[in-house]
Amino acid sequence: MNPPRHSSPGAASLISVGLLVAVLLAVPSVASSYQTILLSYGLIMAIAALALNLLLGYTGLLSFGHSAYFGAAAYAVALTVKYLRVSAMEAFLAGGLVAGGVIAALFGFVCVRYTRIFFSILTLALSQVLYSLALKFFWVTGGTDGIRVPTPSLLGGVIRVPEDKVVFLAHDYYYYVLIVFLLCAGLVWLIVHSPFGKSLQAIRDNEVRAEFVGIRVRRHRWIAFVISGMLTGVAGALWAPLNGLATPDVLYWPFSGELVFMTVLGGFHSFAGPIVGAVAFNYLKTYAVGRTEYWQLLLGVVLVVLVLVMPDGIVGTAARLARGLRRAG
């Protein structure tokens, strides 16, 4: 095979992305407000899952503590409103980015010294420190009641808080979330295809060799950890106004487990896997909760089947089937 002259995303990939964006843009016009808001939740979780996958899929580090960055950002938004009386979404995003980044920088400093189970347990343990603080300092955090987050103004006040909150969330806020999602997805795509992204994949594949290629393994892991925390913070900041309340639930470890679930469901070996997994999980959980009180059992069964039958997740399995069909054809 000839050496590559220039490698760039294929035309088919660009057309697929274009079509997907067109469909996402059309959603508020064709779907109900409920469905659109549900999709907003899915896109927000997709940002967090993409961020998690920067560590899991690309660096080989399984974090069970991403609730910390998501929750810290949600509380940063809530506290900004409570104490600074600020309700601009851009301020929320900045607060979420900084909160996620600062917490990730501190936690990452400790965690990246370890790998495998030790890394996972440390991330989980540290995230639960934040959860405990959120519960104990109830006069600041509102304890289990949480803190209310009002509907924000968008684009520096150009789009003001409307009378009909549902219409706002299903239209203006949806597009806002969509744009931030596309920016975050583009940023992650750029990172994983950059020399730095390649170095993360090298560390994932072979830490010792990576060191002998001149990669500063621990530093690169830490930078990936911080970027991951910042992006998860962005997701947390977008989630808080949509949910209307910042509660300790999003700091609790089962929420970290849900983010891992989403990533595995979509497939952590592919770039699109976490996006598909987050949206699919969001629908799955919403409908499971609405239909049966045993929804956790249902999700557990899905997870078991997933691991046994579809270890590559939805995207990986779809790609494998497509390859098989092409060969058969």
Partner: protein, 247 residues
């Protein structure tokens, strides 16, 4: 001044003195073979020089600079590279990306997160050129995990060479491959080392390979340097013959 000088190097694992007071000098543009029976301390010596393990005693100088306490990445920057006894590659990445990482590292681009790796034509061209030098030009898009053993061995060396070192240490570059392939691999390595004026230290068990390609041979035994010299001198050394069982 030798390119590399080790003085009184020591490494103990419990009661085992894996490297026991080794003095070693490697001159520029020389291909030196490190030989000895299993457990003689060859790989440990390579690990000490490259920084994989820290010595319990002694000093290592590279181009006159004391590198004993330097971390691995700084030794790489100063011009020391290595390959491994058990092939050590990024199996999930293509041959091109394996080599390209070394190019990015050498050029200080490895931390660049805001530029696409594919958007760096010079790095790609250089990586392809390196692959070509090692006869892997047509395997650029094959993942390292999918290459044959001999190809993996060569890619391992190619990744080290792409760092453009002054000294390259190759730990058993022909282990696990057939006799005919050994010559092919060593011919490639010798060609690259000599044409680019590198120094190479090769740990090797196959004495035919050692005597055919080396400028100098260092014989280790029980953690010490037993004998060293050019091949025609080493081949007549009684102590070497006794250990290697050849004459």
């Amino acid at each position: 001044m030798p390119l590399l000088a080790a003085e009184g190097l020591e490494k103990h694992f419990g009661d085992t003195r894996a490297v026991d007071g080794v003095d070693l000098a490697i001159d520029e543009k020389r291909l030196v073979s490190l030989v000895g029976s299993n457990g003689a301390g060859k790989t440990t010596l390579v690990n000490l020089i490259t920084g994989l393990v820290r010595p319990d005693g002694g000093r290592i100088f590279f181009q006159g600079r004391d590198v004993t306490a330097l971390p691995v990445y700084e030794r790489i920057r100063s011009g020391i590279a290595r390959s491994f006894q058990i092939v050590n590659l990024f199996d999930g990445l293509t041959g091109l990306d394996n080599v390209r990482l070394a190019v990015f590292s050498r050029e200080g681009k490895i931390g660049h997160a805001a530029s696409l790796a594919e958007g760096d034509p010079e790095a790609r061209a250089e990586a392809l050129e390196v692959l070509g030098e090692f006869g892997l030009g047509d395997k650029w898009d094959v993942k390292a995990g999918g290459l044959a053993q001999g190809e993996r061995k060569l890619l391992d060396v190619a990744v080290a060479y792409a760092l453009r070192p002054k000294l390259i240490l190759l730990d058993e570059p022909t282990s696990g491959v057939g006799t005919r392939e050994k010559s092919s691999i060593m011919d490639r390595i010798e060609s690259v080392v000599r044409s680019h004026g590198l120094s190479a230290v090769i740990v090797e068990h196959d004495m035919d390979v050692v005597f055919r390609y080396s400028d100098r041979i260092v014989m280790m035994h029980e953690g010490r340097v037993l004998a060293e010299g050019p091949p025609n001198q080493i081949i007549r050394d009684e102590r070497v013959a006794a250990i290697l069982g050849r004459r």
